[in-house]
């Protein structure tokens, strides 16, 4: 069976904590008009009014509000610790005789059972990259912006 630990970042400077990210939820999907490369492209403008939030995307306007989510999201990032671990082990091995290599392999297996929760023995783990506690929710269907002005966007 595979066991994947979910854990906090290990780096020392993570004492400031995992950052809070945000989710903007809206109906439908985003598509690039011309099917061009979307990376880096502009999506839309978010405005706040006294009552809520307004998002303008392309020729659509969306009305929504900020909400605290009942159930937070965690943003998980897959990490691999075993690759590094193996790499180190291989480096060590190359300096040793063949018998030593075999011994070391055997001992490694038993260690991984005894110290199941030793972080180094998880081949893959998920790091909590960010937490989402709030979102900006655009519940209603986007409204088209009616205009007779020629498209300049």
């Amino acid at each position: 069976m595979v066991q994947i630990l979910i854990r906090m970042p290990t780096s020392e400077d993570s004492k400031s904590g995992v950052p809070d990210w945000a989710v903007v939820e809206l109906q439908g999907d985003l598509e690039s008009k011309s099917g061009q490369e979307m990376h880096g492209s502009f999506v839309g403008d978010l405005h706040y009014t006294k009552k809520g939030a307004i998002l303008i995307i392309g020729h659509h306007i969306l009305f929504g509000k900020t909400v605290d989510v009942d159930k937070p999201f965690i943003v998980l990032r897959k990490k691999n610790s075993l690759t590094e671990h193996h790499h180190e082990a291989n480096m060590l091995r190359s300096q040793k005789s063949l018998e030593h290599t075999q011994e070391e392999e055997a001992s490694e297996v038993s260690v991984s059972i005894e110290n199941l929760y030793d972080k180094h023995n998880y081949s893959t783990y998920y790091e909590v990259h960010a937490i989402v506690r709030k979102k900006i929710l655009f519940k209603t269907r986007p409204k088209p912006i009616v205009t007779n002005v020629p498209k300049k966007l």
Partner: protein, 337 residues
């Protein structure tokens, strides 16, 4: 109040040079088209851009309860367990959750940094618009959802039966597979606390660091040793001293097993010996059920009348058998055939 610089600060706290690609004019033109009055809007506008690497396939969204989040934040062990044949579950220290992939027709835009409404009023009242560029790290149409479920411990009995404990004299030659608690967590989809409960329900004991179920005949012999000791010392059936049982029998049976076994068939009476050791009485229902099984096990079938007679004569003095005791554990059925 948040100033201009902070708005452009990335979540890592490092000032990032986000190029403002939209001008106030761009924003105003769009507002005009949308027939929105700038007066009604807060002065901070956030322009969303897709990140350069926005299809972040290494990122996953998981919806958790505040409780699970706290456990993760506090560094408790939260683990996903599963393989190809078992759908994955998430285990905290005490509970198990099914992990389901939830799809939504909505788009979830994930943003590392956002200015919230209470931060969107700027100090400088120069009628201008502050444009903050925000990066969309990913767009999600599904996320992982957790549903509290029962632990999947069915496999446990099978694993325990692979190598039953039959007495310390057989242990030296015993090379069959044995499981530590950590080994079991590696193959059973349960939280540590649930696994502990399941092991207790199976009447497994931790012997020399390995969890084992006792061979039925062996268990019967341990039980007999205890009953005979109580008999030969003429201890009252509601004043059995555990300490004396352990001290007397530990040469024959490992102390740990004696103690476990003793607790399966007794309950504390709330009194102690003059030396301060707890006293126990028989748990009648558990003893009757166990001895009923001892009688039924080799034959599987028994004439009811004969069985009831044999059964009653097997149990220690002062204990009365009744058929309900067998029904509790689904140990036996009676039929009129």
């Amino acid at each position: 109040m948040l100033g201009h610089k902070q708005i452009l600060t990335s979540h890592f706290g490092v000032k990032k040079c986000v190029k403002i690609r939209r001008t106030e004019e761009d924003v105003r033109r769009l507002l005009h088209l949308a027939k929105l009055d700038e007066e009604d809007l807060k002065p901070v506008v956030q322009s969303f851009y897709l990140a350069q690497d926005f299809t972040r396939e290494d990122l996953k969204l998981m919806e958790v309860t505040p409780d699970i989040l706290n456990q993760i934040l506090e560094g408790e062990r939260v683990i996903i367990r599963g393989d190809k044949s078992d759908p994955a579950v998430l285990c905290t220290d005490t509970q198990t959750y099914d992990i389901k992939e939830a799809g939504t027709s909505n788009s979830l835009l994930l943003l590392p940094s956002v200015v919230w409404p209470d931060e969107a009023e700027t100090n400088d009242k120069d009628d201008g618009i502050t444009i903050a560029s925000q990066e969309v790290a990913g767009i999600f149409h599904n996320y992982l959802e957790l549903h509290l479920c029962r632990p999947r411990v069915q496999k446990l009995r099978y694993l325990m039966e692979e190598n039953l404990y039959t007495g310390k004299e057989y242990e030296a030659d015993n090379v069959d597979v044995k499981y530590t608690f950590e080994d079991l967590l590696n193959v059973i989809q349960a939280s540590p606390k649930e696994l502990q409960t399941a092991l207790r329900e199976l009447q497994a004991c931790c012997i020399d660091g390995f969890w084992r179920m006792l061979d039925f005949d062996y268990q019967f012999s341990v039980f007999n040793h205890i009953v005979n000791l109580v008999d030969s010392n003429s201890w009252p059936s509601d004043g059995i001293p555990l300490q004396a049982v352990l001290d007397t029998l530990e040469d024959l049976i490992p102390r740990k097993i004696l103690e476990e076994c003793f607790h399966w068939y007794t309950e504390p009476v709330g009194r102690t010996t003059p030396e301060g050791y707890d006293l126990y009485r028989w748990n009648e229902d558990k003893i009757c059920a166990f001895l009923g099984e001892v009688i039924l096990r080799p034959t599987g079938k028994f004439n009811l009348e004969e069985f009831l007679y044999t059964w009653q004569s097997t149990v220690p003095e002062g204990i009365t058998t009744n058929l309900n005791q067998l029904k509790v554990g689904n140990l036996a059925l009676s039929s009129t055939d």
